[in-house]
């Protein structure tokens, strides 16, 4: 697998450079080294999961659970922008499971017949306003973002969090002139975290993951732009049985607990 | 240059009235090499630094120009102390070995370069530079790039460029060595005429004795960073004091002990010999004679020459219309010049044995 994951920019200023360099050199493959040799002994089955970047923390944790209940199986993740992952799957990348951040992206995969069966929505995510964690922010609601003295960053319209933001702002009737439309939600978060931007619209899960460094301001209009996260085993899966089992784990009570703890809502 | 009609250099230096020329002692240390050279050159005088490769000639010149740092001594030109000054403030002119004309500038711009550096307006600098080009006979090459010029033309442009700034000291580093033998002859005499017109002191570095003899009024011979001999070219040529100079001017040179009109050469343990001379001297002396003064015979010659010795031929070399025969000692290693006919007649070849003779009147003896 030589697919490069888009870089999620990690936290905290001084450690940032080193961490980012590491993240890049890691190429986004999350390997659990613990069972690698055991897996090799038992014939070494590997399950490959393509998942949206916002699922990095939860799925990594679920992957470990899956490995411990399936000795000899190794779960490899390719986290990235949903659309990029969908492109890769359509172009024939060998993957077993695809979990997307929105239904439109999943549709590009199912339309090509690349999914096995109907996708299931396993989680929902809601936008919140991210503001810097230090000091008191004057941003209390969505309408405050219209202040032109405020530096607001949003996701680009081409990516799910961007279209969700547009939808929410439209529903609220608030006109915002952002200073930048970032390529993904992590980039928005980074800009807020580093203090370059005063506020940004991100998913609630992102704020939860960056606990302490940014604060999330909930707003009512976010209900108008909720993202559904669908998951499906893939038609060309090298490990079809394991793929179904992994989807099962995500949909189970155990999976829901992990997702809810991270800030996702149940569908 | 101050021939009639020559451009007046616009930035004459103070003290022109009292030009006193160059007075320098150059001390340069570099690794294991040390140059220590006292050097003077009066106004209008051309001094040639002559010496083998690695003797420190170019180093001396570069030290004068400020391109290598000196470890001691002084450099005074017309009373001004140049030693603390960087090259650009020394007011010197330098002609480099391969001229180093700026390849991206025309001949005219090359000559105007120094004038512009002195603060002259562009148009004025080009006017004066054009006069200098005319002066060296290259008026029609003003717009030519250096690579379009022949070696001789490039040398003239380089000279014009160096002289245009009105230097009080002119330095020439092997100004003829980049030329082929044919043009060299012609350019050499032209350079001589131009140097004669230069009012300041000039120092010329060369390893060619002929260049030195033709161009310079005085020679300083440098070996291993030290001056070993100096004087008028003719004197140096006639009375060499080192092996290097003797070979350079084509003389056989020996050191010996004179007692009246005979000189004992060599260690006296049977390795050397006694030569008859005409000069009357006592004590340590140099004895020199030309290779052409040596006559070679197949058997011991009869008659007048009293300096006769038996020798082995070490080498036979053709040199123009004559042949140089190198003779091995003992008792005396020497070079002899003979005609090709003589070589055939005597069947000279390396290893063959001959008799050599030398007339006493052909020897020169002078105190060591």
């Amino acid at each position: 697998m030589t697919v490069m994951k888009r870089l999620p920019i990690p936290a905290a200023a001084p450690a940032l450079l080193a961490a980012a360099a590491l993240a890049l050199s890691g190429c986004g493959d999350v390997d659990d080294g613990g069972s690698a040799s055991a897996g090799a002994d038992k014939g070494g089955k590997t399950l490959t999961v393509f998942a949206a970047a916002s699922l990095t923390e939860t799925f990594t944790s679920l992957g470990k659970t899956f490995e411990s209940s399936h000795p000899g199986v190794k779960v490899r993740f390719n986290f990235g922008g949903s659309s990029t992952l969908a492109q890769q799957i359509v172009q024939g990348a060998p993957a077993d499971v695809f979990a997307a951040a929105n239904t439109t992206t999943m549709k590009t995969v199912t339309d090509r017949g690349a999914a096995s069966g109907q996708p299931t929505v396993f989680a929902r995510n809601r936008l919140v306003i991210a503001v810097s964690g230090s000091g008191e922010s004057k941003v209390k609601g969505l309408s405050d973002l219209a202040d032109r003295g405020l530096k607001v960053v949003l996701c680009a319209t081409q990516v799910p969090c961007g279209s969700a933001a547009d939808k929410a702002l439209q529903a609220a009737g608030v006109k915002v002139t952002p200073v930048s439309r970032e390529q993904d939600v992590k980039a928005v978060l980074t800009k807020v975290r580093m203090g370059e931007a005063d506020a940004g619209l991100v998913y609630r899960t992102d704020v939860r993951a960056a606990s302490g460094q940014v604060k999330g301001v909930e707003f009512a209009e976010s209900a108008k732009a909720v993202n559904d996260y669908p998951i499906a085993p893939l038609a060309e899966a090298p490990q079809p049985a394991l793929a179904k089992e992994f989807v099962g784990l995500v949909l189970s009570q155990q999976g829901r607990t992990v997702l809810t703890r991270a800030g996702f809502e149940a569908p | 240059m101050s021939r009639p009609g020559a451009p007046v250099t616009p930035y004459r230096r103070e003290g022109d009235a009292g030009r006193s020329g160059l007075d320098a002692r150059l001390v340069v240390r570099r690794g294991g090499f040390e140059l220590d050279l006292g050097l003077t050159a009066g106004p209008g005088e051309v001094v040639a630094l002559l010496g083998p490769n690695g003797a420190g000639k170019s180093t001396a010149l570069r030290a004068l120009a400020g391109l290598v740092p000196t470890a001691g001594g002084h450099i005074r030109v017309d009373g001004r102390d140049l030693r603390p000054l960087p090259p650009e403030r020394r007011g010197i002119g330098m002609v480099f070995q391969d001229y180093l004309l700026f390849p991206h500038l025309s001949a005219l711009e090359n000559v105007a370069f120094g004038l512009r550096c002195q603060g002259m307006r562009k148009r004025e600098a080009r006017r004066v530079a054009a006069q200098w080009l005319e002066q060296v006979g290259l008026a029609e090459y003003a717009s030519a790039r250096p690579r379009q010029l022949s070696g001789g033309q490039a040398q003239r442009v380089a000279l014009a460029r160096a002289l245009a700034v009105g230097p009080s000291l002119l330095l020439l580093d092997e100004p003829l060595s980049a030329l082929d033998a044919h043009t060299r002859l012609e350019i050499r005499s032209a350079l001589r005429r131009r140097l004669e017109g230069f009012e300041g002191a000039a120092v010329l570095v060369t390893h060619d004795p002929l260049d030195a003899m033709v161009l310079a009024g005085r020679l300083v011979v440098l070996e291993n960073g030290r001056p070993v001999q100096q004087g008028r070219p003719a004197d140096v040529a006639r009375h060499p004091r080192t092996e290097y100079v003797a070979r350079l001017v084509g003389l056989n040179l020996y050191r010996g002990r004179a007692e009246g009109t005979s000189v004992r050469i060599g260690d006296g343990d049977g390795g050397g010999m006694v030569l008859d001379t005409v000069d009357h001297l006592q004590g340590e002396v140099f004895l020199a004679f030309e290779p052409a003064a040596v006559a070679l015979y197949r058997s011991r010659p009869e008659g007048s020459p009293r300096n006769v010795w038996r020798a082995r031929v070490a080498a036979v070399e053709r040199q123009g219309d004559r042949v140089r025969v190198r003779l091995d000692g003992p008792p005396l290693a020497a070079a002899a010049d003979v005609t090709p006919a003589a070589v055939a007649e005597l069947e000279l070849a390396p290893g063959s044995a001959v008799w050599a003779s030398l007339k006493a009147t052909e020897t020169r003896v002078y105190p060591a």
Partner: protein, 278 residues
């Protein structure tokens, strides 16, 4: 330039050109062709997938033209900044021995090694609103660089400068120092020598460096989007537009890439003609 009358140029030195050196060895030709194929193949992939029928309409989209204009302007400005700062830096490294020169030389290549996204983060830490220098710029002058076109130029300068410095330093080291000595004996100060002798002599190296620098700036993505963000008309350069188009409309991304490619090839070819035939 017409040759002055009577200049006899000696025939070019070196071996007879007609004879040549024989056939190029396959040990060199084969890898060379493979290398070329490797470089050209992805381009062929792009061309094969190009939706030629919609090319015209896509090109006419104001967003595309805006991104293209911004790319050209910012890459050219970045090249200018690189020249103004990079040539003196290269001169310093090549001509002035100073303690720590090796370290400085290594530091110059840092942006080459650093992933551009990390470079962008580093720029934020230095010049961002809360950065080392940026904080002061903001407080003293009210200048903030992120999210501005100036920020784009800075990000591009950061990643492109090493190409210029390395190229110019190489040219300076290869240049014959004695020309500078000759200039000094003619009364030129080091500044004059640099301006009138050194710089013209290394001009080909400077040009080569500037071209590399410009090309690198034109394709810059990571540092730009991280430091300057992405806003159409202000900081959205072509690579950013290409990247975002890739999310939803890969065909549009291909077209945009081709436009970027074509424009850069045209500009570089024109420059080359102008300079080489001058």
């Amino acid at each position: 330039m017409t040759r002055p009358p009577g200049t006899a140029r000696p025939p070019a030195a070196g071996p007879d050109r007609d004879r040549g050196l024989g056939r190029p060895p396959w040990m060199l030709v084969l890898p060379a062709l493979l290398g070329l194929a490797f470089l050209v193949l992805p381009l062929a992939g792009l061309l094969v997938r190009t939706p030629w029928s919609t090319l015209g309409t896509r090109l006419a989209e104001p967003q595309v033209l805006e991104a293209l204009r911004l790319s050209l302007v910012s890459a050219t400005a970045a090249t200018g900044v690189c020249l103004v700062l990079g040539v003196p830096l290269a001169w310093l490294l090549a001509r002035v021995p100073f303690p720590g020169a090796r370290l400085v030389r290594a530091l110059v290549t840092v942006p080459l090694v650093l992933p551009p996204v990390v470079g962008g983060v580093a720029l934020l830490l230095a010049l961002g609103r809360r950065g080392l220098v940026g904080r002061w710029l903001d407080e003293a002058f009210g200048i903030t660089l992120p999210f501005t076109t100036a920020g784009v130029v800075l990000a591009e300068t950061f990643v492109a400068m090493p190409f210029l410095v390395i190229s110019v330093e190489g040219a300076l080291r290869a240049a014959d120092l004695r020309y500078e000595e000759a200039a000094a004996t003619l009364g030129a100060t080091r500044w004059t020598t640099f301006r009138r002798v050194t710089l013209p002599l290394v001009a080909p190296g400077v040009l080569a460096g500037a071209i590399l620098c410009w090309a690198r700036a034109l394709g810059e993505f990571g540092a730009t989007i991280t430091f300057a963000g992405n806003f159409p008309g202000r900081t959205q350069t072509m690579p950013l537009a290409v990247y975002l188009a890739l999310e939803t409309d890969p065909q549009a991304a291909i077209v945009l890439s081709l436009v970027l490619l074509a424009v850069s090839v045209i500009v570089l070819a024109a420059l080359r003609d102008r300079w080489v035939n001058a």
